[in-house]
Amino acid sequence: MTQDAATTLTSAAAGNGPLVLEATGLSKDFRLGRGAILHAVRDVNVSLYKGAVVALVGESGSGKSTAARMLAGQERLTAGTIRLNGEPVDVRTGRAFRRYKSEVQYVFQDPFGSLNPVHSVGYHLARPVKLHQGRGVDVKQRVIELLEQVRLTPAAQFEPKYPHELSGGQRQRVSFARALAAEPNVLLADEPVSMLDVSIRLEMLNLLDDLCKRLHLALLYITHDIASARYFADEVLVMYAGRIVERGPAEEVTQQPAHPYTQLLIASSPDPDNLGSVLKSGNSASRARGVGSGPAATGCPFSTRCPLADDKCRAENPALHQLTAVRAAACWRLSEAAPALVHGTA
């Protein structure tokens, strides 16, 4: 049962369309000086399929943005390979980088910082159209189409506007339109809604979902909000300290988490149905476990915070252990952490 999980495990997003972008064994080390090395991403496998949403969930510093930047070609790989449509990717030359960018586009988190305040909306969209679609394209027409695609209508009215004249939600729509201008097959969205109001977030996620289905895009949705991943994604990858600790279909992972870290994440999310919450009574037992202690240097990185951790956890790092055809978790003590799941497959 513990065989090489990476080869037998299929992605929960695989049913939606053909495989576009596949990363295997993705690793990134940062040198911190004085010989210290930060392993920001370690041995991550991600597969993105057309028309499907994969969510990468984790706390700040878990390496999810670094992984996305590697997929976007903006960060050199320490180890691993990225394949686009089956071809290994090498983006070391400017031309190859541009070609790759026309296939894989990145949406930034901050709609207030990612648009240039001295350029109009039209300029922001016309530039990538000219860059990626070459001559013979009616740029003006294409810009209008893009604005309509992200539902900034009437488009002619939005085109001459400047970022400061737009609300946060409208700015993020411009960011989406800019990413779509290259007519990509893959969209990497790094916390696309975390800077927006709760009431607007949903509209934006619905728009992204709609674009993904309509334009048949493969979407990587990076977030720290696992609740939105439940509603929005097909597959969820939970990251901790640079590693994927659990992966599987969104509904299954959120409703029946196997890894203790996923369980902690879900228990910590606000639960509006819990009106008699321990938070109201000020019970100190509700304090989260071991916040402040960082990931362990040896063994399972979560062992410093895990209630189930034993000597084996502190000495050896567990590999992803396959639970079902589409689910896996990296934990030595899964039979205690998620007995129903383990015994169901045994």
Binding site: G169, E203, E251, L275, L279, G282, N283, S284, R287, V291
Partner: protein
């Protein structure tokens, strides 16, 4: 339950060349002793303006155009209650921080990056509490213990601390003078859920031991439902609904509150339909006639332009303290239900 801070009919405007932006109009909000009151609304709904205005922390072009903020604390020697908006500057300085403290938004940036944590905490204490340097240092250490930061971190610069720790430093500073009321403006917005929960639990724990009241400002309704005793929902500078957390969760009356409750995905229980709130808030320079929510409201009637936005007890509500500004829409039975609230004819009297 005695009121500690009583905001009455408070109106605040920003004077701009294009006319006044009425960021808060005729707001009434009471915070009782030991209570956690949530203030919820979108960006630009005036929630931060209201909180800062109540402490007279706003600078021109903001002007307070009317109302009063009655503070009935215990410490200050003057006759209680005092109107914060009318006390002389000397007394105002005594009330601020000692009686009413604020944890500012984006703690990530609210700390001075070139000062050590110790110097920032002590700086405030010297100004407001007139402590000697060694006493202040001792007190700073106690404060760090209180919020669970190792004592040696006092020597750290803000960039050496994690986001959660910086937030805790901000909370520690707010609690330095043992205040009666702590206003928290989006204190956990930039934090991870695990850290967020830890800090919230800590705030509540401190509240229980130290006995202060909290006004908690955020746009995240799901958080408020779990945390607060009472919740005020603000839209376009006005409070549109006010009630206990249970009232708002189980029988939200205002269409805006109903929209907010259908906006966030839930991890627990069955999946439910989410609709969000389409559209955007009105321009407060030229607020529309009647109810400001009309353009985004699914239940708007022609008579809605005559609504004066005064808060009335919810028709058929369980508690007279559950009030709404919408005389048209009746409470929805359960936020998650598909059932459409009814809009009976002649409800508008």
């Amino acid at each position: 339950m005695s009121p500690v801070l009583d905001i009455k009919d408070l109106s605040i405007a920003y004077r701009t060349p294009g006319g006044d932006v009425r960021a808060a109009s005729h707001v009434n909000l009471t915070i009782n002793k030991g209570e956690v009151v949530g203030l919820c609304g979108e960006s630009g709904s005036g929630k931060s303006t209201l909180a800062y205005g109540a402490c007279r922390l706003l600078r021109p072009p903001a002007v307070i155009t009317g109302g009063s903020v009655m503070y009935s604390g215990v410490r200050t020697g003057t006759v209680m209650p005092v109107d914060i908006l009318r006390v002389p500057p000397r007394d105002l300085r005594a009330i601020r921080w000692r009686d009413v403290a604020i944890v500012f938004q984006s703690a990530m940036n609210a700390l001075n990056p070139v000062l050590r944590v110790r110097d920032q905490i002590i700086d405030g204490m010297e100004a407001h509490l007139r402590l000697r340097k060694d006493e202040a240092h001792e007190k700073a250490l106690k404060l760090l213990d209180l919020v669970g930061i190792p004592r040696e971190r006092l020597r750290s610069y803000p960039h050496e601390l994690s986001g959660g720790m910086r937030q805790r430093v901000m909370i520690a500073m707010a609690l330095a003078a043992d205040p009666e009321v702590v206003i928290m403006d989006e204190p956990t917005t930039a934090l991870d859920v695990v850290v967020q929960r830890d800090i919230l639990a800590q705030i509540v724990e401190l509240k229980e031991t130290l006995g202060f009241s909290v006004l908690f400002i955020t746009h995240d309704m799901s958080l408020l439902l779990e945390l607060c005793d009472r919740i005020a929902v603000m839209y376009a500078g006005r409070i549109v609904e006010l009630g206990s957390a249970a009232d708002l969760k189980e029988a939200p009356a205002h269409p805006y509150t109903q929209g907010l409750l259908r906006s966030f995905p839930s991890l627990h229980g069955t999946r439910r339909d989410l609709t969000g709130i389409p559209g955007s808030p009105p321009d407060l320079r030229d607020p529309p006639q009647g109810c400001p929510f009309i353009p985004r409201c699914g239940f708007a009637l022609p008579t809605c332009v005559q609504v004066d936005m005064s808060l009335i007890p919810v028709p058929g509500g369980r508690s007279p303290l559950h009030v709404t500004a919408c005389p048209v829409v009746l409470p929805a039975a359960g936020a998650a239900s598909e059932q459409e609230p009814t809009a009976p004819e002649g409800a508008l009297s």
